[in-house]
Amino acid sequence: MRGCRRIRSWIPLAVEGELPLDRRYRLDEHVAGCAECRSEYEAAVALEEAMQRLPEPPVERLDLDRIAGAIDAAIDERLRAGAPEKAARRPRRIGLRAVVAAAAVAVLAAGALLWQALVDDVPDEVATSSVAAASGDATPGDATIDEARRDEVRATIAAELLAGLGDLPAGVSRSEVEERLAVFDERVRPLARGGWPVAHIAEGLLASEDVATARAAARFLGVRGDRVSAVALRRALDRPELARAAVNALGDLGPTGVSALAQALDQPGLETLALDALVRVGGPAAVRVLEAEVGRTGARVRHTPDPASERRLPMLVAALAACGPGAVESLLRLTSNGNLARDEAFGAIERVDGGADAVGSLVGRSRRDLSESLLLDAVATFHPRSALPWLEERCHDHREREAALACIAAYPDPEALHVLLRVRRRGSSAPVLRAARDLLADAPGAGVDLALRLLEARDEEQASRLLDFLLECEAPGSGPALSRLALSELLSPDERQWAALAVAEIGAPEDAGRLAQGLAAIGSLGGASRKAGGERIAAACLISIHALAGDPATLAALGALGGVSAERSARILAHLDEAEAKGTRAVIVYKLARELEFFYDPTIKKEVSSAP
């Protein structure tokens, strides 16, 4: 088959979910018709799925305290054995001449003195600490620093933190804390310039016996801290009197605080606060943690239900949904894994701002962890417009067509009708027409919206196809669309005539009113109207008006035209009664057209107008 080589080169990208959407469609289309490529693609997907199902590294088995101790001991042992010298030795080049080696040694000796200063991007005061230590200057990086000076700096920072942040009540905004910290920064600037790591010292202050100081340090770290601060704040969770301040600070810290917040979720009394903090952080990190929590709790509820887990699960789901569109994928995955009921997940997605768009963004990508049927269910429920191209593609695969059509039929969207119109062109018939009928029954406005859009865009070809499609469907809700098409000069006279006549069959009384309003507009075609068959279209309109709304509406429509005598009106009504009695509409269209010529033919109109 043509293009196999190129298509196969796309498979790795498709498997990684990095293939652009247009190529993705082409790949899907190709593999649907090429057994070899399909086999290769399916094998690649199956392999990827198998890899994703490999067990995760058991990180939870790590005892970091023990490991840190073991590493410390191993370092001591190596240092005693003289390891640093060995580790620092540069790799020697084989075959260097002695003189070059001697020069290199000299260069290395000089270089060693400059080495610390050359270290990239590290504050000079800190990077040169070893040099300073050798010269006897006490700086913050100096291992032999004067303990008294260190305590003094620590006390200063503690006092400034307490003065700046100690009186701030819980729940103040981050911007208020920022304002206070601007003053604090000014006051500790000399220390920071001297190389004192203020954040690092604040981390130490979390262990302060004075709870107010420790809380002020937590608040400071929430705004100015980093990943290391998150570790310190995580430890602070173990101090009951400091735990709430630590949770708030971790929330302020943003994504780096999320894993510590996950720990707080399991601590009695902190769960609600930690959930609030996670929602405040939002983004992928918070979503990951909440997804894991929902998964664990959902599994417990499913296997060994207990009241605490049952009470907890809705809270967690609500928090996850509050994290925004990023949570939608997680909610669906949880359902796909069986850890969250479908209705709960969908209910949560409904509450997510932009949830439908998020569902749409999931389709068409290589999803290893979401079941296709669930995704289809979500698309059918939330109707993301962005999923329509994906559904359209699926309509061309006989295995997927039925589900995709059912899904499209649930869209209250004119674009969905447009999709069905295109699918119909490519060969399917009965199921597509059924889907269109369902769609128009649930969303009657979709037909007229699409008609108006096409007419506004002056897309003659598509408007004409829409008419064919609506006539083929015979959907009860398509009267408004048909009347719009009948009154538009974009279509041919024949098409307009058929459209106007069809309103009588599948329209509603209000469609008669629309046609009546349009009768005069048909005349506005002017000199071209006879050639354009204006009187035939008007005749067809009158038939529909009469069929749907009776004599009074017909007479009113004729009256609105102006210049129709009582005799002519009577003849027209007689023709219409005859048409309904005999069902000979084609003949009546002809007869009515003759009656209406006076209005739609400019020459005859002139004669009538000039008559006394």
Binding site: L47, A87, V122, H200
Partner: protein, 185 residues
């Protein structure tokens, strides 16, 4: 990409002999280093050993860390080298240990195999890959690292890594072909 300012300060302090600062770094980076090691060696005990050794060597070699890339990537590079050494050493001592020529399970479509058996066969096939391909595949597919980060950790360019991942997938597919024949999505 270099780390945050505080991480740089911690690294500088650790380099100057501050063991508490290095302790912070260990607690921060050990789990990921361990995860990478686990993916490469396939069992908890060896992975923990490797990750510990990586941290010890990291401390003793800190002066060689120039700060131009992420500290984590520098640690990954150490652990990847350690894993390769261990792999080579295992092959020298027991050339066939752990790598049966034929998978121990009866072959057939994926859905007919138990999940555990399939995992074993897959891990076995991953271990059969050449070091460079295995590392690229593991870091990309199982650890979810982006190509630039893998390039940092292995010393290859991102383009080379992309090619290695692609080759690894193909090779793995060949090794696992009997299991995926006739499989459907």
């Amino acid at each position: 990409m270099a780390g945050s300012v505080d991480e740089k300060v911690l690294i500088a302090r650790a380099r100057a002999g501050d063991r508490a600062a290095f302790d912070h770094l260990v607690r921060e980076h050990f789990p990921r280093v361990y995860a990478v090691a686990f993916r490469l060696v396939g069992n908890h005990e060896d992975a923990e050993d490797l990750a510990q050794e990586c941290m010890v060597r990291g401390y003793l070699s800190l002066r060689w860390y120039r700060g131009s890339g992420a500290f984590s990537s520098w640690l990954y590079r150490i652990v990847v080298h350690l894993a390769h050494d261990r792999h080579r050493s295992a092959e020298r001592n027991h050339p066939m240990a752990g790598y049966p020529e034929e998978p121990v399970v009866e072959r057939g479509p994926v859905h007919e195999l138990g999940r555990k058996e399939l995992n074993l066969a897959l891990l076995d096939s991953i271990r059969k890959l050449p070091d460079s391909l295995r590392t690229a595949l593991v870091l990309r597919t199982l650890e979810g690292m982006d190509y630039a980060a893998i390039a940092d950790a292995t010393g290859f360019t991102a383009t080379t890594i992309r090619t290695q991942v692609m080759k690894a997938r193909r090779a793995l597919l060949r090794l696992m072909q009997p299991y995926f024949q006739g499989s459907t999505r």
